[in-house]
């Protein structure tokens, strides 16, 4: 790596981290409002910077390889809370199993079918299919089934925010008040963003939300290639 490309890397990685710190500040100031999502704020700020400085996206993406590289280990690390909450899974195996697989399949199938119904492209349909799972897994699944990872990443974040805002009211309206069910639904439909929102309800919902994130990542990664070839 030449000195020049090292400096470019350090510059853009530093800028990204600085924008992320601004995002974290916004989250704190808004008292954990789901709308003030640090990742989304960072993406918007960096995008504006790239457009105003006429920097090509490929230059930026290559310069920030360190961050992208760490996504792999971060995904593996999701196995830690999954293992820790395993006793919860065993205690309500039927509910978790049925609820999780159903939620995962419904999310993928209804997403793809609705895109088709409103005359969206095939690429959009497969990019939207894995959007319920945690962003890094969603991106790699999208790549696997011929979607656009960047589109999936943004849809996953926006979907997580949407889930965080609506999950409690929606489920209460349909008389789903079991705390573990609300937690699992939040983790399954909205991954980490919705999970951190229901974590405030207590340890039970937090644990089941963590289970929802980890297991839905696995289930979606397993089923998406099959469903994508059928739909």
């Amino acid at each position: 790596m030449s000195v020049h490309s090292f400096l470019i890397s350090a510059l853009w990685t530093g800028i990204t981290i600085a924008c992320y710190l601004i995002g974290l500040g916004c989250k704190r100031i808004s008292r954990n409002n789901a709308l003030a999502n640090p990742a989304l704020i960072t993406i918007v700020l960096v995008s504006v910077l790239l457009i105003t400085t006429h920097t090509p996206y490929t230059t930026y993406f290559r310069a920030t390889w360190v961050l992208t590289f760490l996504l792999g280990p971060a995904t593996v690390a999701l196995g830690i809370p999954l293992a820790k909450n395993f006793t919860h899974i065993r205690q309500s195996l039927l509910g978790v199993g049925v609820g999780l697989v159903a939620g995962s399949v419904v999310s993928m199938v209804s997403g793809a079918l609705l895109v088709r119904l409103f005359h969206g492209s095939n690429e959009l349909a497969v990019s939207l299919m894995p959007k319920a799972v945690t962003t890094p897994i969603a991106m790699s699944v999208a790549e696997e089934i011929g979607g656009v990872p960047a589109l999936t990443a943004t849809l996953a974040i926006v979907g997580g925010i949407l889930t965080a805002i609506t999950v409690k009211a929606t489920l209460t309206f349909f008389r789903v008040e079991h705390e573990h069910a609300v937690g699992l639904a939040a983790g399954t439909a909205g991954s980490g963003i919705a999970a951190s929102h229901v974590a405030a309800m207590g340890d039970g919902p937090a644990a089941f939300a963590a289970i929802g994130i980890g297991l839905n990542g696995l289930v979606t990664a397993l089923l998406a290639p099959m469903l994508a070839s059928w739909l």
């Binding site: 593996v76 409103f118 890094p136």
Partner: protein, 144 residues
């Protein structure tokens, strides 16, 4: 109780030792990514490599907890803190990929309707499916 806190503090008091543990933990996580990628290629799996690594790590942690408590403690002490840090700030890590949305402006202008409808619809339906079925089949321990 007091004694326990003291032990915890003295352990956390060595920044070099802590950094070393974190570095080893990160290295272990990277090894899981590489092993996952190898499994994907050699067994022709459609699962992404890091997801296979996730399943392997969870499996090994569970097996070790059961059969080899010492190994379990060592593994979680090394992988745990750095893993929690990475998961807590995962948002930062997918920014470079997410910024790619600026190359997708054209598509979003043309296809905003299917995007909005499919997002709202699929989130609503999957939330309801999971929540309702979990409540239906879960042990009734807490009923508000």
């Amino acid at each position: 109780m007091d004694h326990e806190i003291k032990i915890g503090n003295s352990k956390a008091g060595h920044p070099i030792g802590l950094a070393l543990k974190g570095a080893i933990g990160l290295l272990l996580l990277v090894v899981f990514v590489i092993v996952g990628k190898h499994c994907k290629v050699s067994f022709h799996l459609t699962l992404p490599g890091p997801v296979i690594g996730l399943a392997l790590l969870a499996g090994i942690l569970l097996a070790a907890e059961r059969f080899h408590p010492f190994f379990h403690r060592q593994l979680s002490e090394h992988v745990g803190p750095v893993g929690r840090l990475l998961v807590a700030h995962m948002g930062l890590l997918f920014v470079p990929a997410g910024v790619g949305i600026i190359t997708e402006g054209e598509r979003l202008r043309h296809e905003w309707l299917p995007v909005v409808v499919a997002m709202a619809g699929s989130i609503f339906l999957s939330m309801l499916a999971t929540g309702w079925l979990m409540q239906r089949f879960a042990p009734k321990q807490r009923k508000p």
